[in-house]
Structure formats: structure tokens, C-alpha cells
Symmetry: C2
Subunit: 294 residues, 2 copies
């Protein structure tokens, strides 16, 4: 069973437009550029990036809808010997300027083949640079609430998958305080579609509230340095570990769109370990042992 592709693409496109309006307002100074690109194998996308010195130092909200012959790297991952595929999705990332406001990432996606394989996947996670337990709880409660309203969703299982996925083995640390991660949802497609639509707006609501809380918190050069160091971990995850980034770069997706997720400024200071008892060390402690937040 599959979904109405056109309707789904229309939804992702509308969500992109709505989110760009909302997050440009949240930013307060800059606006989202618009780049349309075509994929040589079929399809293309619209990359929308905001960069500046407002509340968001960099944000990207991208929609892509691609199709055509199955690339060999993709073929390895399929159960059936499909010759044609179709994929559409929206992905978003927000890197606030203020170290007290967390980074948020989310994506919603749908995939199908001409052999009848089809599934939804997606997820979202929050990466604070200073730990505000209230924010982590608010974020997870919003996700858990959406999941509870939909029989196809499994908050506890998806929360655990998120903790497992967004993990840097070489650092022994989670990327952040997690969220939810789901993939290969093949049953009851209409219900998943409805769930995804609700998730899309719930994420925007809860993240807007968190940024509103934190974006005007005073900070100094020490906090800024810590922020950029931790963004280094974010870049390590995206470049060395994330399967989506790897897959995008290997299958010839548009590089600037795939790497729009990277933080705008990053530091790698050698052996920069925070002193114990500091807020910086408190964050690391939580990243080393994922918690329940609801």
C-alpha cells in the first residue's frame, strides 16, 4: 500500500513555507534564501537557508523529491530488486546564535520502489550546549503527547532508538538530549501520514518556545567558546557518523544542501575538558548517560 505522492509533496512544501515564515519571525533580522536544484537522475529540491546575526546564526529547511533508477549504494539497502525508486522528505536544522539556546534537527520522509516497498521514516532531536532540564522535558513531553494520540507511534521505543542513533562512539557521548527516531514504518500508511503532519507542527511549536526562553540569556566569551567547541562534536557526528549525510554525499545529492546542516562556526581546541562541577561538565555528564525526560 502506498500514499498519494502528490499530496505528500504538497504537504512537505507547504510545511517548508510555513516554517520559513515562522522561523524568520523568530530570528528577527534575516530571511530564508531559496535555491531550487535539479538532480541529474530525476527530481530535485528546494534548499532554504537563513544566515545572519539574529537569534538564528544559521538555519536550513530543505525539501527534496527525487526519483529514477536505483543507485547501487541504495540497492544494497533494499529487500527487493527494485529498478526505480521515489523519495520525498523535509529536513530542518536550527543553529541559534546564543549558547543557551539548543540546536534542533528534524526530518520527515517517505520512500517507495517500483517493487512495492514503501515506508515512512523520520525523527527529531535536541542538542543543548547548556542543560536546561525544563527544555528537555518540554521537548520530550511534546513528542510523547503526539505519539500518544496515534496508535502507530511508540514514544518509548523511538526515544531509545534516537538515543542509540545520535551517539558518538569515539566520544562516548550522545549528540544531545535526544528525541525520537523511527524508520521503515510500512503499515497503516494513512495513519502514519496523519501522525507526521501533527509531528511537524508540534516540533515547530515546542522549539519556538524553547528558543524564546533562551535566546536573550546573557553570555560571555567563555560560553561562546564552549558553544563552538560543542558544535565541533555536532560536525563530527554529521560528517563521520550520520548515515543520512554519508548516503547523500555518496549518491550524488547536492553537496551544499546535504551539508547545510553543519554549524556556521566551530572550534576544535585540543583536549578541552570542562572542570567538574561547572555547567559545562554537567551537560557532558547527561550526554554520557541518556535519561528519561517525561
Amino acid at each position: 500500500m502506498s500514499v498519494d505522492r502528490d499530496e505528500l509533496v504538497a504537504f512537505y512544501t507547504q510545511l517548508q513555507t510555513d516554517l520559513c515564515t515562522r522561523f524568520a519571525a523568530l530570528d528577527g533580522t534575516a530571511s530564508f534564501g531559496t535555491e531550487r536544484w535539479e538532480r541529474s537522475g530525476g527530481g530535485g529540491g528546494t534548499t532554504r537557508v537563513l544566515q545572519g546575526d539574529g537569534r538564528l546564526e544559521k538555519a536550513a529547511i530543505n525539501v527534496s523529491t527525487v526519483w529514477g533508477p536505483v543507485p547501487s549504494k541504495l540497492s544494497e539497502r533494499l529487500a527487493s530488486r527494485a529498478s526505480e525508486f521515489f523519495a520525498t522528505g523535509i529536513s530542518m536544522i536550527f543553529h541559534p546564535l546564543n549558547p543557551h539556546a539548543p540546536t534542533m534537527h528534524a526530518n520527515l520522509r517517505y520512500f517507495e520502489t517500483d517493487t512495492g516497498e514503501s515506508w515512512f521514516g523520520g525523527g527529531t532531536d535536541l542538542t543543548p550546549y547548556y542543560l536546561y532540564e525544563d527544555d528537555a522535558t518540554l521537548f520530550h513531553t511534546a513528542l510523547s503527547d503526539v505519539c500518544e494520540r496515534h496508535g502507530i507511534a511508540d514514544y518509548p521505543g523511538w526515544k531509545q532508538r534516537c538515543d542509540e542513533y545520535f551517539f558518538l562512539p569515539h566520544r562516548g557521548e550522545a549528540r544531545g538530549v535526544g528525541g525520537i527516531f523511527y524508520d521503515h514504518l510500512t503499515e497503516d500508511m494513512d495513519a502514519v501520514d496523519t501522525f507526521q503532519r501533527e509531528l511537524g507542527s508540534a516540533i515547530a511549536d515546542v522549539y519556538t518556545e524553547i528558543v524564546d526562553r533562551r535566546a536573550d540569556t546573557p553570555y560571555g566569551p567563555d560560553q561562546e567558546r564552549w558553544h563552538l567547541q560543542r558544535r565541533g562534536r555536532y560536525a563530527e557526528f554529521n560528517l563521520a557518523i550520520d548515515q543520512g549525510t554519508k548516503f547523500g554525499l555518496e549518491t550524488g545529492a547536492r553537496t551544499e544542501s546535504v551539508l547545510a546542516s553543519l554549524p556556521p562556526r566551530v572550534r576544535w581546541d585540543h583536549s578541552a575538558t570542562p572542570e567538574s562541577g561547572t555547567p559545562e561538565a554537567d551537560l557532558v555528564k547527561v550526554l554520557q548517560r541518556p535519561r528519561e525526560w517525561t
Copy 2:
């Protein structure tokens, strides 16, 4: 046939000490710290890092000597079913503060197993942020001169391997203007050992000269921004592509030592493409089509 391990380790250790003295003098303000670490499976290393605001913003000169049971990730890459291995080597990276001075990386290494496999490997490459053809020619001429003095060396072949290895497929760009790259040198070990010793000091001489030429060139915020953007490409290579980094992180080497190669400050500005006819665009043109420099 294998080499005298103790003598080789003594050479790498002495080279590390000499280079730290020379490059601290070149830097002019900071000095190299010393961190000794132990590997749980056997062996360990000494990581020496300089960070500051002298001529070198960050430099790392690391020696490691490790041994023990062959890790499974390593086992896949061996021709024989070895149960024990021994590896020693020196690696170095220099990230100057001034955008006109290039980054230089080099490593010299030796590997053996209890089944009698043994080889030398190594290489060096130069990554300018602004192209000075004289510097690229000087660097390559120094390498070609050392190679010509040793029958076991093959400058043209190793230059080509370097161009192939230090390449970012997703950017369609080389990391820099190349150098030499060699691996699995299994014959005539004494001659290779002698060659490596000469290469070690030739690299230090030529790179010192290049930094001396460029480190006091005036520059402004636009050049600094370009520098940090290009360092982003360096981080992309090391984290997403470099086999040595991947192997180090996967086999449980000390993370801070493996990632000491990362640039101290980096920017990822979205779609930052230089205007044609500028010095920035001229550099990119050369990275897209490797040249002969001797």
C-alpha cells in the same frame, strides 16, 4: 625481513623532539604540551600539541607505538591471518594563523605482524588557502629531490597517489596541492628506513621556509573568513573521508590524539563560492585540476 624496532621508535621519538623545538621557534610565542597515553591493548604514545596566537594557531606532532592482538577491523585488511601486530609512526599537522601560510600534514609509519608481513608507509601534503605557485613548486621540488636520491622512491607515482588520496569527491576538489603518498613498501627495508629519515628533515626544512615567507603577510577579515571556510573542507576530509582517521576512531585509538589534526577554528557558510577572477577562485581552479609542480 623486518627492521630494528627499537631503533625506529628511537628515530621517531628523536624526530618528534627536534620538530617540536624547531616549530616552537617558528611559532615564536607558544610551546608544545606533552601528553603520554597508554593503549589498553598494548603500547601507547606521546601527543604533543601547540595552540596559541603565534604564527601557528595549532600544531600537533604525535608519536605512537602500539602492539598486541590484531583488532577485527585491522584483521580485514591483512593478507595473512596474523594474531599479533606492531605499529609505530609519527604524524604531524601545522595550521598557521595567517591565511597566506599553508597547512602541512605528514606521517611516517611502520607496521608488522607475527606472520611476517611488514611494511613502511607515509606521505605529506600541502594545503594552501591562497595559491603561491612558488611555494607549491618549492615543496614538490624538495620531495622530488629526496626521492631521486633513493632508488626505492618513486616521486611521479607517489605524487599521483597523493592527488588521488587527498581528494573530496563530494566537492570535486583536491584537499590542496598534494605532495607524495606511499604505502606497503615491503622490499629493501633498510633503504626505506634511510629514505624516511631524510624525508623527515626535508619536510621540516621546506615547510619552515614556506611559513617564513608567508606568515607576516597582511590580511583582513575577508581573507580570514575564506581561510576558515577552506579549513571546513579540511575538516570534511579528515572526518568523512580519511581512512587513517576512520581507522583510528574505529579501533579505539585515543580520540583527542587522532582528532588533534582538526583545524582550531572553522566556518561553514552556506554556498560560499568565490567570484571568478579572484585569488580565492584561482585556488579552487587548481584544486579541481591537479598540476605538475616540478
